[in-house]
Symmetry: D2
Subunit: 140 residues, 4 copies
């Protein structure tokens, strides 16, 4: 069982990181190993042609990994990204995106996860990313 | 000599990518091998404590590499990031950030560059990043 | 259907890259999207404790991606790695390793793939890697 | 001042990692922030055409970063690579290679460094790499 539900994760984000609310990212599902998120196409994150921008995709996986870690360890504001590596594979189709994340390691000091981002149509990923988060040593 | 001056780069960005204007990124210097950019601390890119967020730093180096490439090859809207790898090294101090980028390879098909991001105080980088851009094959 | 069978891939390697024979890497399976390889524990690639070294794991995924690409495009000696990113997740158990690779993109100019490496025991990966290969423009 | 001299680093390697002796890597210089290493062209690490292979370059920077960290913290066999990211920029010229490494962060838990690899001729790097090492928590 996860330590924070979707509702608790959303409430935590709103309280601690109000500035990211404008991205409109939605948690669709989270469990002990994986997470699914949605990112709506909206004016701020679009490029000409109606496709979601690279930086918006980086924000999506960065936040997604943070949420996937929080769901396991509880509300720890001090977990921070130490490495993010992303390959942009193909131009995303216009419209919303979906991110699928998987936790590969949850250690005492670091967590590592893999993400793939998909458009609404088709089953080929538009991007893949891996991320490392540092977990504060003094969490209870 | 570069193919696009700072003024031309700024005009190109405003015309082609109006949505990124809100980041307030400023080109301070660009030549055949390197670029210096500034990113002001402003409400949208801040985290609690007044430090600039990770996603804002990723946007900074992504745009910085694009500008460094454009300065060499001229206005090519279709150059796209294919890989971005970033290490966050230490919490940035509150306030503005500066990015220093260096072009390591400018081939016919890809360009690779290295960036470091610094706070206003101190000479230790708060982040390092490397990026690969794909250059469209049919540019004149 | 793949363009090169396991037997053809092995013969190509022996002819073009005799120096890598000593690694003992075995292709177990390859199809249009994925590959499975085995790497035996042998004196040259071991660390104290009998676990396979990090550089040997990097060689494994580098060769694995090359073989996965060749299986799709035929014998092209000039395909070269342009980026390799690897996370070492946990100390591998003593003994042989297995790598599972997946092709995420096969474009005209680049191919991108993801690999995970597993020990003989357990289902948690000991490493994950992503690789980009550049494909020569003038292949038939 | 560094904690281990070139002679001490070499002795430590020979004692703890005898299997890497065959690479012939030579430490040319090391200080509090940086290291220079040489890698000779020898049959085992060559590709057709007499250039040093990609995996040999990965071994070079992996060992180089380990030595750069050891020089600062003393002989700690348990420091391990957690991430290695490398861009191969151009085909190396035939002959020996030189690696220049720089320590970007030396924290209590992780160390991060940047490397560039050069051929004997020319001042353009043939590869760039960044590495993260995990430092055991219980070192004295």
């Amino acid at each position: 069982m996860v330590r924070m539900s979707i509702g608790e994760l959303n409430a935590f984000l709103e309280r601690e990181f109000p500035e990211i609310g404008w991205m409109g990212i939605e948690i669709r599902r989270v469990d002990r190993r994986s997470i699914t998120l949605g990112m709506p196409a909206q004016p701020r994150n679009l490029r000409p042609g109606g496709t979601i921008s690279g930086p918006a995709m980086m924000s999506l996986v960065d936040l997604g990994m943070y949420l996937l870690v929080l769901a396991q360890i509880g509300p720890v504001p001090l977990a921070v990204t130490t490495n993010l590596n992303i390959d942009f594979l193909r131009k995303p189709p216009p419209g919303d995106l979906r991110a699928e994340g998987e936790l590969l390691k949850l250690g005492r000091r670091i967590a590592v996860g893999d993400f793939r981002i998909y458009g609404a149509e088709g089953d080929e990923p538009v991007a893949r990313a891996s991320l490392t988060y540092s977990i504060p040593p003094d969490r209870a």
